[in-house]
């Protein structure tokens, strides 16, 4: 692997891991606050899975540059994170959280299905591993979109408001990183352009079948993973506080 490919791959793995980590944290904010116990547990399970996925992506990066996953997660500042803005938005209400998880799961399931054929074997192996877990997420969040979309007037209104707010942000999942083209050319990662069409087909159909309308104006669409909303700062302040205060966290 030449240096250019290696650097591009490190950047891509970081973005993948950061998305999972930040989303896991947002989901975990519901622990103890879910609408009913079963759903509290379900979302905690999903958060735990996403955290497991982040660990695998950071681990893969580590084999390339020797970085320490714990330091990357707990000691970087917001400006050094490369997650998309969608995952850092505050958790909002239940509809907002579940819609975000659904849009992300649909993207992730498609990305992983393509990435399991990567020419870079370690990445193909991680993708194949994670994909098996992802389908349970999609099954769950897809059902929630339908349940709330076709539920009551209020649940539909909340789901529609979530969709109006998130649709533009979600498009960022398909914006390639600068330098990602070289990875696509080498067959290391899938081409996001092709995946976007499939994702649009699946999500549009499911959203419409769930009584929701796609926003006529997609709204703000972030394009750079160097940019973040103000919400990432407060998220990290909470997520990193223990590690920054006592890295070993051995004192209770």
């Amino acid at each position: 692997m030449n240096e250019q490919v290696k650097q591009a791959l490190i950047a891509k793995l970081t973005a993948l891991a950061d998305d999972e980590l930040i989303l896991a944290h947002r989901d975990s904010e519901w622990v103890g606050h879910g609408p009913i116990l079963e759903e509290d547990i379900a979302l905690a399970n999903i958060a735990q899975d996403e955290l497991g996925h982040a660990t695998l992506w950071y681990g893969l990066r580590s084999t390339l540059d020797g970085s320490d996953p714990d330091r990357l997660a707990f000691l970087r500042d917001a400006a050094e994170f490369h997650n998309c803005e969608l995952v850092e938005l505050p958790k909002g209400d239940w509809a907002f959280t579940l819609l975000r998880q659904y849009l992300f799961d649909a993207y992730e399931a498609l990305w992983l299905s393509a990435a399991k054929d990567s020419t870079y074997k370690p990445l193909a192996e991680v993708a194949a591993k994670i994909l098996r877990e992802e389908r349970f997420h999609l099954q769950h969040t897809q059902a929630w979109v339908e349940r709330l979309g076709l539920g009551t007037e209020e649940s539909n209104r909340r789901m529609q408001a979530a969709l109006d707010a998130q649709w533009g942000y979600a498009q960022q999942l398909f914006v390639p990183l600068e330098g990602e083209g070289v990875l696509v050319a080498e067959g290391i990662v899938p081409d996001l352009g092709g995946l976007k069409q499939t994702w649009l087909l699946h999500t549009t159909q499911h959203l419409q079948n769930s009584g929701l309308k796609l926003p006529l104006q997609p709204g703000y669409q972030p394009t750079s993973r160097q940019m973040h909303t103000e919400h990432l700062w407060s998220l990290l302040a909470e997520m990193q506080s223990t590690a920054r205060w006592d890295a070993e966290a051995k004192v209770w």
């Binding site: 899975d49 399931a109 991680v126 591993k129 099954q139 769950h140």
Partner: protein, 163 residues
Amino acid sequence: MTPLPNAEQIWQALAQVPDPEIPVINVVEMGIVRDVQVEGGKAVVTMTPTFSGCPALYVIREGLEQAVRGLGFAEVEVRTVLFPPWSTDCITPEAKAKLERYGIAPPRPTSEFGLIELELELVRCPRCGSLDTAVKNTFGPTLCKSIYVCNVCREPFESFKTL
């Protein structure tokens, strides 16, 4: 000096290590242990994780290491591999029977699944044997289990996810 145990004896020792979350079955019958090698005075155990975010992995890793140290190895290495990914098909038939006796519906054989379709599985109630059961929650008390309820005997039960 007594010779160090061979791979076969290590396998036997590992079969004494219970799964931390489902203690009626051991890590070997769970299909977590992939390989055992003795390299000089060192034992190398290769394992594969079940669910990637499973918090029991650390306990399992320690359990494997301690079991091998208990045989007299001063140096033990536990390696992790991801490929081929662990599947519930790796659980032995005997272990699946133990799961059912323990009250957990065992996983079904895996098959190719559609990416975005909802998957409906027939799950047998481990108490009364009825197939008239319904999923209550895809996610249960641990990452590997779902919650079902039996429509015949009315009992809720856990079902191992088919992965």
